[in-house]
């Protein structure tokens, strides 16, 4: 976020005395802080409820500060009928693999679109971007049939393969690689490096921050993905956390809200930690399409 606040964009600015600007300042901050309440309350409720005893977690009136902390709701998850531990592990594996593979394919393609000229490059890139516009439900039926034909239904590959490439990732990395000066890469070529070495030894190391950003975004999106596992996974042991938590809520209903909230908290926690640490990067990466327009 740049430090260029537009005080003149605000009503009450312009040819106004300082007090009017001060009032505006406090009022606007007040409104924004007020808006924080509906943003935080659901997550707060979730966290607090996850620590209440299961039998009374959904009682009214709601208590916002739990009297005792029932961490056993969390450990109970791993001993319940629903194999949360397996779901957790599956999610970690799938998200990890997808992230690594997507980084590889996107960086290669992004670099090529940025610095290697080949016939139809520009149009191919734009064509690929159109895949970002179509809802997944348009292509899911043939995708399922392909996986079925390959005997990959109910395997993790059915989820990993479609997510191995990403037009969004290519877009981000192409943006980044375009900021590398042509001369830098040409200097390497003159020194005898071929295209692969130039990419791998020179360009790619410089892309580390962008790769980290894209990696976080990809991991988070794959971690949260509900639809693809829903379509492709049938057996309990293969399922991922989103599927698992949702079926948990179907199994327990309103009977044990604390357990369900513990599951949700467990699923959200890694994302929260990463977000608190890498906030700027993540936001910059996700919103980078907007500023160029």
């Amino acid at each position: 976020m740049s430090n260029n606040p537009n005080t003149h964009a605000l009503p009450g600015a312009g040819s106004t005395p300082r007090t009017r600007i001060e009032v505006w300042r406090y009022v606007s901050i007040g409104v924004v802080l007020l808006g924080c309440i509906p943003m935080i309350v659901p997550l707060l409720w979730m966290a607090v409820t996850s620590l209440k005893p299961g039998a009374t977690a959904f009682d009214l009136p709601p208590t916002w500060i739990p009297k005792e902390l029932h961490f056993e709701n969390y450990s109970a998850l791993f001993q319940s009928d629903v194999p949360i531990g397996a779901f957790l592990w599956n999610s970690i594996i799938i998200s990890g693999v997808v992230t690594v593979v997507q980084l590889i394919t996107s960086s290669m393609a992004g670099y090529a679109f940025a610095h290697l000229s080949f016939r139809g490059g520009k149009s191919l890139f734009l064509l690929m971007l159109t895949s970002l516009m179509m809802p997944l439900q348009v292509t899911i039926i043939p995708m399922y049939l392909i996986m079925s034909w390959l005997n990959l239904v109910d395997t993790h590959w059915a989820i990993i393969l479609p997510l191995s490439t990403s037009a969004f990732g290519v877009f981000l990395l192409r943006q980044f690689f375009m900021t590398l000066p042509r001369e830098l890469l040409e200097a390497a070529r003159i020194d005898g490096a071929n295209q692969w070495v130039t990419f791998f030894r020179i360009a790619l190391p410089l892309a580390r921050p962008m790769l980290a950003t894209l990696g976080i975004i990809t991991f988070t999106n794959t971690w949260n993905n509900y639809f693809l596992p829903l379509v492709f996974l049938n057996s309990w042991e293969k399922m991922t956390l989103p599927l698992g938590i949702f079926s948990l809520s179907n199994v327990y209903g309103s009977g044990n809200v604390a357990a369900i909230m513990a599951g949700v908290a467990l699923a959200i926690l890694p994302v929260l930690i990463v977000f608190l640490v890498a906030q700027r990067q993540i936001i910059a990466g996700l919103t980078s399409g907007a500023v160029k327009g």
């Binding site: 439900q137 949700v264 907007a290």
Partner: protein
């Protein structure tokens, strides 16, 4: 000059994984759905030709019409709320703020964007509970009777819209804020010297200069709402009746529950054309109201 040199060879090599993914999981399936929509296929026996029977069914399927109405309503409402709230919040936040406040606001508003929708919706499902949810509990104190947020046809779709906006307003807020901060101060100063009033400045300067970002947010929100799936499954499962069923859910149900792949493909084809049309419409309209600098 032929570009089939070493560079272009490397170029094609570098993009080949992404290109393969694009062909197998996007372009191929697009054509495949067209083909499938002309068949009757239930996955157990081989697909049999059905001519245009599926397309004829589109006209008589009143469920489909209701589903599309819901989808358009959801999209329109979500876009309007998401973009305007984002703009509103961005304007309020666009001032010199102490670092901790900026960090706090970014965290509180943007974190929901990263929370998996299935988890967010699971939490909101309990908050919206008619008899035991905290929302109705507090509304009771200001005299508003218990509202059936998820089980009345009046409110079901609105609840889904609300959850979507709750989750995504942080994104539009931050993209709009970035746009605001890229507007140079001097424009406002010059306008102020010419005697422009603050709200006129908003209308004549800020919004036109923000129009690329606004377009971006409209497009992103449109794409997201057209494929929104997780929240509907978690909150209402399309009910009551068809009150909150959208096209994405309908395609999934027809294909994977009803095993009517041919008809589901026909619906998918209509969704494809609807999206293509809306996108083209947006971009041609954008030439009129979007100002690029």
């Amino acid at each position: 000059m032929k570009k089939l040199n070493k560079e272009s060879l490397y170029g094609l090599l570098f993009i080949s994984p992404t290109l393969l993914g694009f062909l197998v999981f996007f372009l191929g399936p697009i054509f495949a759905v067209l083909f499938l929509s002309l068949t009757r296929y239930d996955m157990f026996s081989a697909p049999e030709s059905a001519g245009f029977a599926n397309y004829a069914k589109l006209f008589t399927d009143s469920q489909l019409h209701k589903v599309y109405r819901n989808t358009f309503f959801f999209g329109a409402a979500a876009i309007t709320l998401n973009v305007s709230l984002g703009l509103f919040l961005a304007i309020l936040v666009n001032q010199r703020l102490p670092a901790f406040l900026r960090y706090l606001l970014r965290t509180v508003y943007f974190f929901p964007v990263l929370v998996g929708m299935i988890y967010a919706a699971t939490v909101w499902k309990f908050l919206f509970n008619r008899d035991l949810g905290v929302i109705n509990y507090y509304l009771h104190y200001i005299g508003i009777g218990p509202i059936s947020w998820l089980t009345s046809s009046q409110f079901a779709l609105w609840s889904i819209i609300f959850v979507y906006v709750w989750k995504n307003v942080g994104f539009t807020m931050l993209t709009t804020l970035a746009g605001l901060q890229s507007i140079p101060q001097d424009i406002y100063e010059a306008a102020a010297i010419d005697g422009a009033r603050p709200f006129a400045m908003l209308r004549k300067i800020t919004i036109p200069l923000l129009s690329p970002v606004i377009l971006f947010n409209v497009v992103i929100t449109l794409i997201n709402t057209m494929q929104e799936f997780d929240s509907i499954v978690a909150l209402t499962n399309g009910g009551p009746g068809n009150a909150s069923r959208t096209v994405s859910l309908y395609i999934y149900e027809k294909a994977f529950r009803g095993l009517d792949m041919g008809y589901a493909s026909a619906i998918a084809v209509t969704l494809f054309f609807v999206i293509a049309l809306l996108t083209a419409l947006q971009f041609s309209l954008s030439r009129r109201w979007v100002h690029y600098t």
